[in-house]
């Protein structure tokens, strides 16, 4: 298989961004008449400032396509942070190695007890997250966490520093269903500037992680950019190109696209105001992704504020996290009755925007005539025990 990072070099993203800003009403109306897009040219038109004026029409199509393929349902999951130890400097991230935060890697027993707490809240789908540190976040440790937590959680995905195929295979064999890896920014110069130190410097290697994950046997693979680091249309076109590549080259993949905006965190990172993405922009983008990728899961996390999350339930999102903490070990200090932190979280990766409890999120979803789905995978599919 060819590498996406090689193919990406020849995709004229800059020109497509220009094409997007030059698009005309005739093109936008033609696409809205069809109700779907199948290539990057039409996708560029759909995320254009001009198409932003047709947001209601985009929303109509996105709502309809999503209902058809997923019904009125939203799948729920919870992240669990194992460690904030990290060897990288990522200027925008709370875990960045030069930030003075309390560092911790939680022991297996605590991982299991927190997973049990999350299961009591309803979750049957867990996302294991950790900083990149070969000493603290070793493969054996993660594998162990997966095998133990699978007794409680039928579905587990991971979001870790990229690995080689052979290092992924034991995690798949242990029963891990999915892998998420965000490119953060697809703009190479920006990428290099904000990742000055650590293995994360390797731009192309990170970009080819989804393919390695597929080769290792992960069933669900998630892509995304962190909007706010560079021009959002540039990022969106790159994510779209990456998604189309994955669908073409990895025919068994169950693809998910996360749409996430930068949040405030520890450190001195000052976001460039030109790159900020408004609520209208993110809504337009989600609808455009849906019209390009009718079958992909679209994930919206607690990075986004409550009112926006409520509105997006009906506009293309299929999967949401709820009641999240981004600090390793923080769930141990949560009040279980109303699922709220009993103390400050100085070691968090970033501060979430929607702090409602899982129960509140579920009732918000059913209040809109949608079904919150907690379980959508059974461990017996992948493991014999």
């Amino acid at each position: 298989m060819s590498n996406f990072s090689d193919i990406y070099q020849n995709i004229p993203i800059e020109a497509l961004v220009q094409q997007s800003s030059d698009t005309n009403e005739l093109i936008v109306k033609r696409i809205l008449g069809k109700g779907e897009v199948r290539n990057l040219d039409d996708f560029a038109a759909l995320i254009s400032p001009l198409a932003g004026g047709y947001l209601e029409e985009l929303a109509y199509h996105s709502n309809k396509i999503t209902k058809n393929h997923f019904g009125k349902t939203i799948r729920l999951f919870a992240p669990i942070y194992l460690s904030n130890e990290c060897v990288n400097i990522c200027t925008y991230c709370g875990f960045s190695r030069n930030n003075k935060i309390p560092r911790i890697t939680i022991p297996l027993e605590q991982v299991v007890s927190e997973t049990r707490m999350l299961a009591n809240q309803g979750f049957r789908s867990l996302l294991i997250v950790a900083g990149e540190h070969p000493k603290y976040v070793s493969n054996g440790y993660v594998e162990n966490c997966i095998s133990h937590c699978l007794k409680i959680m039928p579905s587990i995905s991971i979001e870790l520093g990229p690995l080689e195929v052979e290092n992924y295979i034991p995690l798949v064999k242990a029963g891990c269903e999915g892998l998420i890896v965000y490119q953060e920014t697809y703009h190479e110069d920006t990428y290099k500037e904000i990742h000055p130190v650590g293995p994360k410097k390797k731009y192309s290697w990170r970009m080819d992680t989804p393919q390695r994950a597929y080769a290792a046997g992960f069933r669900k693979i998630g892509l995304g950019a962190l909007y706010g680091l560079y021009d959002w249309r540039y990022e969106a076109l790159s994510v779209a190109a990456h998604a189309l590549f994955m669908l073409q080259h990895c025919w068994k993949v169950q693809l998910s696209i996360s749409v996430l905006r930068l949040r405030p965190s520890m450190g001195n990172f000052k976001p460039n105001k030109n790159y900020l993405m408004s609520n209208r922009d993110i809504t337009q983008l989600i609808c455009a992704f849906r019209m390009l990728l009718p079958h992909a899961n679209i994930v919206l996390s607690t990075r986004e504020p409550a009112a926006l999350r409520n509105g997006l339930v009906r506009l293309g999102v299929t999967t949401m996290s709820a009641g999240s903490s981004t600090e390793p070990g923080a769930y141990s200090n949560f009040e279980e009755s109303n699922w709220s932190p009993k103390q400050k979280q100085p070691g968090e990766q970033f501060h979430i925007a929607d702090d409602r409890s899982p129960r509140e999120i579920a009732s918000m979803i059913s209040g809109q005539g949608y079904e919150p789905i907690w379980k959508d995978f059974d461990q017996s599919l992948v493991t014999s025990s």
């Binding site: 209902k67 058809n68 393929h69 997923f70 019904g71 009125k72 349902t73 309803g122 049957r124 069933r219 669908l247 025919w251 068994k252 993949v253 169950q254 693809l255 079958h295 059913s366 005539g369 949608y370 079904e371 789905i373 907690w374 379980k375 959508d376 995978f377 059974d378 017996s380 599919l381 992948v382 014999s384």
Partner: protein, 259 residues
Amino acid sequence: MKPLIIADRKFNSRLLVGTGKFPSGAIMHDSIEASNTNIVTVALKRANLSGEKDPFVDILEYIDAKKTLILPNTAGAMNAEEAVRIARLAATAGLPRWVKLEIHPDHNYLLPDPVETLAAAKILVKEGFIVLPYINADPVIAARLQDIGCSTVMPLGSPIGSNRGIETRAQIEIIIEQARVPIIIDAGLGAPSHAAFAMEMGADAVLINTAIAIAEDPIKMAKAFALSVQAGRIHYEIGTSHLSKMAHATSPLTSFLDK
């Protein structure tokens, strides 16, 4: 209307209903009731197979197992091994030893994998399961699955959730013509008229999920499908009085026989 008979079990309704994509358990329950179905299929991946009550995973509790046969399905399985494993687990959990065998490694169009389906069917039939495999409208795979002892075959009308109706008509006609077991049209039927058409073609039953679940009013849509399936079946049983577009030749072609 004659009853549907699968593996010696009699069903009065010829409409099977799927349980995905519903906006709530309560609406799903009421839609099943309105459809008058006797067979409801449930994805095992969404069910709680531990045998204990779980308030967060309660899909099975919305189905009245006295009135309807719960037909476990293997959705989510990407190969034979996974499908067999989850079917066995369902049986161990006390669900009926019937299985709607579906293996679709392609998550986008959910098209069935004939190679893995045949392999899994062989194992499950041997283990005493009543196997109802979901297949593409391919008469050869349909014949092979009947050879090894499947109790029905379930060819698709068009891809799952596409609501396009029967776009595989020519192949389905062959499958029906050659059938030794009941033929159930599964997937792609988007309107009650599609279901009636399938029944008029001679299909023994149809399975509907998306078209009911995502309808503005799923309960009324379930009723509409129930009626159309009956109408189509009754029409099939009494036989069509053919309308003819053929003109009659002024000089009959067989008049030489009278000379």
